[in-house]
Amino acid sequence: MANILVCDDDKEIVDAIEIYLKNEGYVIYKAYNGEEAIQILNREDIHLLIIDIMMPRLDGIHATLKIREYSSIPIIILSAKSEDTDKILGLNVGADDYVTKPFNPLELVARVKSNLRRYTKLGSMQGEDTLVYRIGGLCIDDEKKEVTVDDELVKLTPIEYSILLLMAKNPGRVFSINQIYESIWNEAAIGADNTVAVHIRHIREKIEINPREPKYLKVVWGVGYKIDKP
């Protein structure tokens, strides 16, 4: 299984994460500051790094910068800093994911899995298939009518599938509720109906690790929904 390095100056947090990840069968290395993390990275074969930002000696941002000089392993920043600016900064210096404290352990585990999958498997592109739509870890195979997220199969209803497919076919385009309704149901949208919104939420709940902060099917509030371009 994969080796995961967890780096946080708070020992209890590191221990808790260790417990969760060990349950998933990962091997855990622990570090308590940036320098230690880099040393372990150099010494061991690490597949994924979970790192805190605010740490003594070398903080997570600088550590990430240094690591990115020679390694492309997935890095998940785990920080109490929840500002947008912090997230943007973390992602810009090379982190692959950003989880804020206090975190949901299951979400963290899911993200670890997701990142590992992409790191280990998705790096090798499969053959081009026009009927397959890939957006990051999301893959919609219209031939098989299958949807996978990080190779995990997701079960969608036909309507949900149609909606997701519509949007995946037109990445970057924002669909309003009425547009979606008219495309899917083939009839004029009438009145105050929030069916589409409910479906979308359901889709999000199925394909997103954290539906409130969707990665694939994003909500543009007051405008509509969209799937970003890969």
């Binding site: 708070d10 209890e12 947090i13 808790a16 994460i17 417990i19 969760y20 605010m54 109490a80 800093k81 929840s82 500002e83 804020t100 404290k101 206090p102 975190f103 352990p105 309003s176 509720i177 009145g191 105050a192 109906d193 929030n194 069916t195 589409v196 919104a197 409910v198 479906h199 979308i200 939420r201 909500v219 543009v220 509030w221 007051g222 405008v223 509509g224």
Partner: protein, 941 residues
């Protein structure tokens, strides 16, 4: 108000009445003294009615009236009247009876005072031999019906023919000023005839001191002689002119003929003809021998003299006739207490007059020897006078002890009473006759014993009046209310305007003066009326005066005391309206001037200088114009215009600079705090102002920066603290989660873990919301504004919450506008608002109720209104506005989940996006209304 005792109404009235009674007493007593000390003697003639009054001194020591001075004065007066009576008698009577046919020689009568010097008459009356005789009755009638004159114009010849005058113009001598003027006037107006001989008219002044001067007329030879003499004297001479003899003749004729009043005027024609206007007395009555005056007169001078005699005689006779009638009544036997015997020699005849009853006939009196007569007068009457100038005999027991006084009385009538006269006169002090002596004696003797007492009463009542007057003056206006308190009060009369009261006072004074006149008349009549009547009347009169005076005086005092003398006057109204208010306004404006000396210097002074300059230039320009130089005038006008333009320019520049400063202030007000008004071109007050504005701007900038910094520090602090909380919180949450994963069978322990789980989750929510709220309220967020379809948003949001609502059995009723409602907002933030509101509903709505969402567009298509309505599960016991304050929740116990920041954040976010957020509570109805300007509208506003 309390310091004076005050008077009760009853006491005050009593005192006033007492005072007025005192006035009555005072005046009454004075009147008693006055009426009893004046005695009047009435005299009546045809044309005159007059009175002698004699004062009686009631305080005299003398017991009897005939011992007093008054008696003597009355006696003297009576004596003079008797003398005149007898003179008139001698002129008008024949043998003791009035004789109208008596022949009067007018020359003798007119010259009767000179009759004693008959022997010398040639000396003085050389030309006055002419005379006329008339009957007495004719002369009296003539005077009665008037002497009239006739104007006649004669030529010089006629005049000379009529009066036979030939020497009229030969006049030389001292001229009066008037004559001199007439002469000069005449001379200057006449043309000089060339053919005549010339004469010189000289005015000679004897001395510089005396104003006497003479006019002399002389020919050349005389003049030469005169000059040689004059050189030695100090006299001064002035040549008035050189005239012909003819001229001077006429001039002198004029003067001479002008001297009697009978000559009206003299006219000189250019031909040299002279006309004379004369007045001739119309002969109403002829002389005894039936001739006219004109026929008697041989010359103009005679005629003039005759007219004079007639005038004099008629006048004197008629006057004497009047007196004669009056005296006859009063001094004949029985009418008077005076008795007399006058013996005298008139015109060589021995005459005797008397009113004695005992020796009524002159013949009887002649038989009585002088000695017997003396003793008769001495013994039979109280007071007597015996006077015989011939023998220097003077004897009297009256106060008249000097012979000289008596002599003076007679000397005027020397022609009637020559020094040979013998006079006996007495007053019967038994007063058998009711004459003025009797009356005076009665008054004196009745009143004298009481005079002092009456006087004393008068003085006492006078003093009483004064004391009461002073007391009441002090007390006036103070009314005693009860034992210890007295108040000041005004009477109704005092509320009258002061001027009107004063007018009434003046009117009353006028009436009083009339009253005094009335009293005086009463007093003058006193001798003939009931004295007590007079006294009572005048007493009442005096009281009335006192009352009138007191009414006004006390009112005056009360006005002063009550300080309404001026304030209650019409003048005060005028004063206030016309003087005080404008004065106050003036004072204010002067103060304003002083307070704004800058204005004086900057505006008024330049304006004044400008105006003064214009004025001066205007005057100068007028002068220039008057000198006819219109180019100069226009040049002046040009200069003035230039000067005024300079001032105008200065003011305009000043205004522009001021405008810049105002613009600067506006920019600072609009938020451009770092704006600086340029001060380089400014000076004086403008510069100060600009600098002040700049420093205010800087101050505000600093303050804003400081407060923003503070706010940011606060937000940072909260953020940092929340970070520090989050780290341990992470552990708590994780380990609680781990605990949950342990298969714990123990139910209580599972319960504890559940509590820990819930509370740690809540703590997490709380820290997140706290950071969010602090960031929003410090304005430390950036909005990404874009077009938002509100309908879409509502649908999306409901989609997000559909399952949660279903879980609680909440049914949503959505009413949307037909058209898309587009607003401009930050997509994520507006979602946060909707999320918070729906979350709030989810948490607090009564399960199983309906939620109403209504979206409308206002009628003016400017705003979108979105409302959320639900029924609260719990009773809300707080005010609507408190709900949006931080950490407030509908349930005060805070037992349920939520940070209490949801509504606060929603509200702040709404307002950040230019919307409005209102909460409405009605019982359990909870309603939130969001209002956003529609897209396109917000930018316009």
């Amino acid at each position: 108000m309390k310091k004076h005792g005050g008077l009760t109404r009853k006491n005050e009235i009593l005192l006033h009445m007492l005072q007025q009674f005192m006035a009555f007493l005072l005046v009454g007593c004075i009147m008693i003294l006055l009426t009893y000390s004046v005695v009047g003697v009435r005299t009546e003639t045809d044309s005159l009615k007059y009175k002698h009054t004699f004062g009686i001194n009631l305080f005299s020591e003398a017991e009897k009236f005939d011992e007093t001075d008054t008696f003597d004065r009355m006696l003297m007066s009576a004596l003079q009247e008797i003398i005149r009576y007898n003179v008139a008698k001698s002129q008008l009577e024949t043998d003791g009876q009035f004789d109208g046919d008596k022949v009067i020689d007018v020359r003798d009568f007119a010259n009767r005072k000179n009759s004693l010097t008959k022997g010398m008459e040639d000396l003085f009356l050389t030309d006055d031999t002419v005379t006329a005789k008339y009957y007495l009755k004719d002369l009296l009638k003539w005077e009665k019906y008037g002497l009239s004159y006739e104007s006649v114009i004669l030529t010089e010849e006629e005049f000379v023919t009529l009066f036979g005058t030939e020497k009229l113009y030969l006049y030389d001598g001292i001229l009066t000023e008037e004559q001199k003027e007439t002469l000069q006037e005449y001379l200057s107006g006449v043309r000089i005839p060339t053919e005549s001989e010339e004469l010189v008219v000289l005015e000679t002044t004897d001395d510089a001191d005396t104003a006497d001067s003479s006019i002399s007329i002389m020919d050349d030879m005389e003049l030469l002689e005169k000059e040689s003499v004059l050189d030695e004297n100090g006299t001064e001479e002035k040549q008035l002119g050189v005239y012909t003899q003819n001229q001077i003749h006429q001039a002198l004729l004029d003067i001479v003929k002008n001297s009697p009043e009978m000559i009206g005027s003299i006219y000189a024609e250019s031909t040299g003809e002279i006309y004379v206007q004369i007045f001739l007395l119309q002969d109403r009555y002829k002389t005894t021998d039936n001739r006219t005056l004109l026929s008697i007169a041989e010359s103009w001078k005679d005629y003039v003299s005759l007219v004079m005699y007639v005038e004099q005689t008629t006048l004197d006779l008629s006057y004497n006739y009047g007196e004669y009638q009056d005296f006859k009544e009063r001094y004949e036997t029985g009418a008077t207490n005076i008795v007399y015997v006058f013996n005298m020699t008139m015109m060589g005849e021995s005459v005797s007059v008397s009113n004695l009853a005992d020796f009524a006939e002159p013949e009887d009196r002649k038989k009585v020897s002088v000695a017997d007569m003396d003793s008769f007068f001495r013994n039979n009457y109280g007071r007597y006078i015996i006077y015989r100038p011939q023998t220097m005999t003077f004897e009297s027991n009256t106060g008249i002890i000097k012979e000289s006084g008596l002599f003076d009385a007679f000397s005027d009538y020397e022609y009637a009473y020559p020094e040979t006269a013998e006079i006996w006169l007495a007053v019967d002090t038994a007063y058998p006759a009711q004459d003025s002596f009797c009356q005076a004696a009665e008054m004196y003797e009745t009143m004298r014993p009481f005079a002092h007492a009456v006087c004393a009463v008068a003085i006492v009542s006078g003093i009483c009046w004064i004391v009461l007057f002073l007391y009441l003056s002090v007390m006036s206006g103070y009314r005693k209310k009860n034992e210890e308190e007295s108040l000041f009060e005004l009477h109704w009369f005092d509320y009258m305007y002061t001027e009107i009261a004063m007018l009434l006072g003046i009117l009353a004074c006028g009436l009083m003066i009339l009253g005094v006149e009335f009293l005086y008349n009463i007093l003058a009549e006193a001798t003939f009326k009931s004295r007590m009547e007079v006294v009572l009347l005048s007493g009442i009169g005096g009281m009335v005066y006192s009352v009138v005076f007191c009414v006004f005086w006390y009112s005056f005092l009360r006005r002063i005391k009550g300080k309404v003398l001026f304030r209650g006057s019409l003048l005060y109204l005028v004063w206030k309206g016309i003087i005080v208010r404008p004065a106050r306004a003036l004072k204010k404006s002067i103060q304003a001037l002083y307070g704004n000396s800058g204005m004086v210097v900057r505006c008024i002074l330049p304006a004044g200088i400008c105006m003064a300059g214009n004025f001066i230039w205007g005057i100068m320009a007028r002068d220039v114009l008057s000198r006819g130089s219109s180019s100069g005038f226009w040049f002046m006008i040009f200069l003035v215009c230039m000067a005024d333009q300079c001032f105008l320019g200065l003011w305009c520049m000043n205004y522009l600079k001021r405008k810049k400063i105002i613009q600067g202030i506006g920019r600072i007000r609009d938020g451009e705090l770092d704006y600086q008004v340029p001060v380089d071109n400014l000076y004086g007050e403008n510069k100060e102002l600009a600098e002040a504005v700049n420093s205010i701007g800087e101050g505000i900038q600093t303050a804003v920066a400081t407060s923003m910094k503070d706010e940011r520090l606060k937000a940072d602090l909260i953020t940092n603290v929340s970070h520090d909380i989050k780290t341990p919180l992470t552990s708590i949450i994780n380990y609680v989660d781990l605990l949950k994963r342990e298969n714990i069978e123990d139910e209580p322990v599972k319960g504890y873990i559940a509590v820990l789980d819930a509370k740690s989750q809540r703590l997490k929510q709380l820290t997140d919301d706290l950071v969010e709220a602090s960031k929003i309220s410090s304005g430390n967020i950036t909005l990404l504004l874009e077009k938002i379809n509100l309908t879409e948003l509502v649908k999306q949001a409901l989609g997000e919450f559909s399952e949660k609502f279903e879980e609680k059995g909440l049914e949503t009723v959505l009413t949307l506008a037909n058209e898309p409602v587009i607003i401009e907002a930050d997509s994520r933030r507006i979602w946060r608002v909707a999320e918070n509101l729906l979350n709030n509903i989810y948490k607090y709505a009564m399960p199983g109720t309906r939620i109403y969402l209504d979206m409308t567009v206002t009628e003016d298509k400017r705003k979108a209104v979105l409302s959320f309505k639900n029924i609260s599960a719990q009773r809300m016991n707080i005010r609507a506005e408190e709900l949006t304050e931080r950490f407030i929740r509908g349930d005060v116990s805070r037992s349920t989940e939520g940070s209490g920041l949801g509504l606060s954040i929603a509200k702040n976010l709404t307002e950040l996006q230019k919307g409005s957020f209102e909460i409405y509570l009605d019982g359990d109805l909870f309603k939130v209304t969001l209002t956003f300007p529609l897209y396109g509208e917000s930018t316009e506003e």
